[in-house]
């Protein structure tokens, strides 16, 4: 009864005027840059914003990002009968999903994910910098057993150098998740990080809330918002 329908055009063109350079890879999608979104980011960027507000307003952005990410999942045509007895041609959701959060900051995005995707399964990855090699190293991972058959929403709030995100993609691929079924969701990305990431994993879709100016010498995003996990959990 249901037939696959051609995917609608992407909800937002990938080349939003959200990048300082304006040359985004085609796999990058941003939220529309409205005054309201800018106001949300202004609140969470402000160093004087108290933790309660930081949590509330970052959750609002995360929900918008997850909603946007889900738009990249397939749908099929579906006809339903309404309570008034008329038929309605709509669409039905297709494909199972799961979330994977990169510890610890990525966990902060889980509440937002669960508000949009009820009781979604969530895997975890802990990646830390190896003190000897200075490279990201996998310390821990735990995934749903059928992750290879699911679409994966990878959660990490900040894409700075892209090191840990690329390591996470590598781990997912080792678990038989193909790149084209991974949607990487972050709040703020650096142009350098995006370039490296998309160059290495061109089929992974990247949903980002804002593309900032760049990185400082300590590899912090400028202007950024500081350490997301610290501000969300500790400060």
């Amino acid at each position: 009864m249901s037939t696959p329908c051609p995917p609608p055009p992407p909800p937002q063109p990938s080349l939003q005027p959200n990048s300082p350079k304006g040359d985004l890879p085609p796999s990058v999608f941003t939220l529309p840059r409205t005054a309201q979104l800018e106001a949300l980011f202004t609140i969470i960027r402000d160093k004087d914003t108290p933790r309660g507000d930081f949590i509330f307003y970052s959750d609002r952005i995360i929900r918008l990002l997850v909603e946007e990410g889900l738009n990249h999942l397939p749908v099929i045509t579906k006809t339903v009968v309404t309570p008034t007895g008329s038929t309605y041609e709509g669409v039905g959701f297709e494909g199972k999903i799961c979330g994977v959060s990169i510890l610890r900051a990525g966990e902060a995005m889980e509440a937002g994910l669960r508000e949009v995707c009820r009781s979604v399964r969530i895997g975890k990855i802990l990646i830390q910098r190896d003190e000897e090699t200075a490279l990201p190293k996998l310390f821990y991972s735990k995934f749903p057993p059928d992750i290879a058959r699911r679409y994966v929403l990878l959660l990490d709030p900040m894409l700075a150098t892209g090191g840990s995100a690329m390591k996470a993609i590598q781990v997912l691929k080792e678990n038989q998740v193909p790149e084209e079924r991974i949607i990487f969701i972050n709040l703020i990305a650096s142009p350098e990080g995006l370039k490296t990431f998309c160059g290495t994993h061109p089929l992974v879709k990247v949903i980002t809330g804002w593309i900032d100016q760049g990185l400082n010498e300590k590899a912090f995003i400028i202007p950024g918002l500081g350490d997301f996990g610290e501000r969300r959990y500790c400060e």
Partner: protein
């Protein structure tokens, strides 16, 4: 600190003036009240403007002549009446300075002289109420002999009764009355009532009362009150006055009937305009429709499905309303704002610049949007309106209004942005009335954002748009038409139903 429609719904239904004993206990609460019998029918026309003023009755008479009793009898006798406010002159005593206050506490201040009353304020409040606006009337404390800082909010009466010894004395007030009543009572009887009232309720001694009577009350009555009887349309005896009250009520009923006849055919929602063959083209309706994505399309499919489970329906309503309210927030004003981030970088962003934002949901189906609203705006006041349709002629009736302080205070309402929540705009009758209520309170049209899931293209939206072109309307989707029918195969009166629609959204969410 207000007598709202809500508090009096239960009270008035039960007793409507029958509970005389309890009411005697508190002079203030007895005197400024809103009484509701069966809701308030539309007071505006198809173009959104007010057609009718409230009907104002002035009741004057000597102290303890029985003015309040007459006012109550009128309310009781009118029976099946719309909302009534009884407004007392006692609220409008002027602020006293320190010296006057000392005199007052020593019973040496003349409260019976017209100059003791703030007539311009009395007239201004009455004029606001007559024009169907809200009014925040002062509260006078007899214990402290002072006007209190707080005020009492009144709104939404079809009939206003203003009573007080000087109610007919001031020309500004007389201008506002549709009917002027003077309660005539024998002086001996008034004095007897006064002594018994002041001794019992105010704990005063007889000699003090008599002194005050001779010094202030009697001269005032002779010089100011009794002469004002000349302005009255009708003079009512202070006792055994049921015939006079019958006459008054017959007159009021007739006047109200004339008024409602004048506009009912125009506002006979929804038949006159629903089947209009030439609805406004959709792009000219000025709707802000949520951009369609795979996710919103999928959510609507689940919500429209009559076989959707109860859990699914609730979950996806909450998710869709969150998205809708996020989308609606673009209509708040934003200005550039620079902040410093924790890494020490300065960055220019934006900031919401309005000081007052609140939400108002239309019971019951508008409340299904509240959870989503709270996810997006967590710290603003929420108001509620209960609007039901009249069983016999489908006319909307306002049954209950509980509005946030931002809206109740007129000077704040002018700067307040209001998100009005309802599930859908079908006939548009409830949307129309709720917008009119906000405008009555002084909220500017372009500060109102109406948020709903569905709009019926051939429904009331066409007149709503013409009447209130500057109200922002945010909706999830547009359905084509309204048809007369019964929902879910229910028995009873036919209602207007949206096709293909989502059914009875409130029932599906709550029941």
């Amino acid at each position: 600190m207000s007598t709202t429609l809500s508090r009096t719904v239960s009270m008035s239904r039960k007793d409507l003036g029958l509970r005389e004993k309890d009411e005697e206990l508190s002079v203030q609460s007895k005197k400024n009240t809103v009484l509701v019998s069966h809701g308030r029918p539309p007071w505006y026309g198809l173009d959104g403007t007010r057609i009718n003023d409230a009907f104002v009755i002035g009741v004057a008479g000597g102290s303890a002549s029985g003015k309040t009793h007459v006012a109550r009898q009128i309310v009781k006798n009118l029976g099946f009446i719309p909302t009534v406010i009884i407004l007392s002159q006692d609220s409008f005593y002027k602020r006293l300075d320190e010296e006057q206050s000392k005199l007052a506490h020593a019973n040496q201040f003349d409260f019976d002289h017209p100059s003791a009353i703030d007539m311009p304020m009395f007239a201004a409040c009455l004029a606001d109420l007559k024009a169907c606006k809200q009014s925040n009337i002062p509260i006078y404390s007899f214990a402290q002999h002072q006007r209190l800082e707080e005020t009492q909010y009144l709104y939404g009466a079809a009939i206003i009764i203003a009573e007080g010894i000087m109610a007919l004395q001031d020309p500004q007030l007389r201008e506002l009355y549709d009917l002027k009543v003077f309660v005539q009572c024998d002086s001996d009887l008034m004095l007897a009532r006064r002594i018994s009232r002041d001794v019992e309720q105010r704990g005063r001694d007889v000699s003090g009362i008599l002194e005050q009577y001779l010094r202030y009350v009697k001269p005032s009555f002779d010089n100011f009150v009794r002469p004002s009887a000349a302005y009255a349309d009708i003079i009512v005896p202070g006792i055994s006055n049921s015939v006079a009250i019958d006459l008054i009520c017959t007159h009021v009923r007739q006047k109200l009937q004339e008024r409602s006849n004048a506009f009912r055919p125009q506002m006979a929602i929804p038949k006159s305009h629903l089947l209009s063959q030439n609805p406004i083209p959709i792009e000219q309706l000025g709707l802000n429709i949520l951009p369609s994505t795979r996710q919103t399309e999928g959510i609507f499919t689940i919500l429209r499905d009559r076989d959707a489970s109860h859990q699914d329906f609730i979950f996806f309503i909450d998710r869709l309303s969150t998205t809708l309210v996020e989308y609606a927030l673009q209509f708040l004003p934003y200005l550039p704002h620079t902040v410093t981030t924790p890494v020490g970088a300065e960055t220019e962003g934006k900031k919401v610049t309005c000081r007052y934002v609140c939400g108002v949901s239309i019971q019951r189906s508008g409340c299904v949007l509240e959870r989503g609203f709270r996810r997006v705006i967590n710290d603003v006041p929420m108001g509620t309106l209960l609007i039901q349709s009249n069983e016999t002629n489908a006319e909307p009736l306002l049954l209950h209004a509980k509005l946030p302080l931002y809206i109740r205070l007129r000077h704040v309402a002018k700067e307040t942005y209001v998100f009005l929540l309802d599930a859908q705009i079908g006939t548009g009758a409830a949307a129309f009335m709720s917008i009119r209520i906000l405008l009555d309170h002084g909220v500017p049209q372009d500060h109102i954002v109406f948020v709903c899931f569905l709009v019926a293209r051939k429904g009331g939206i066409n007149i709503l748009r013409k009447a209130f072109p500057h109200v922002k309307i945010v909706c999830g989707s547009v359905d084509n038409e309204m048809r007369e029918g019964r929902l879910d195969g229910r028995e009873g009166r036919k209602v207007w139903v949206m096709y293909p629609g989502m059914g009875q959204i409130g029932d599906r969410y709550y029941l």
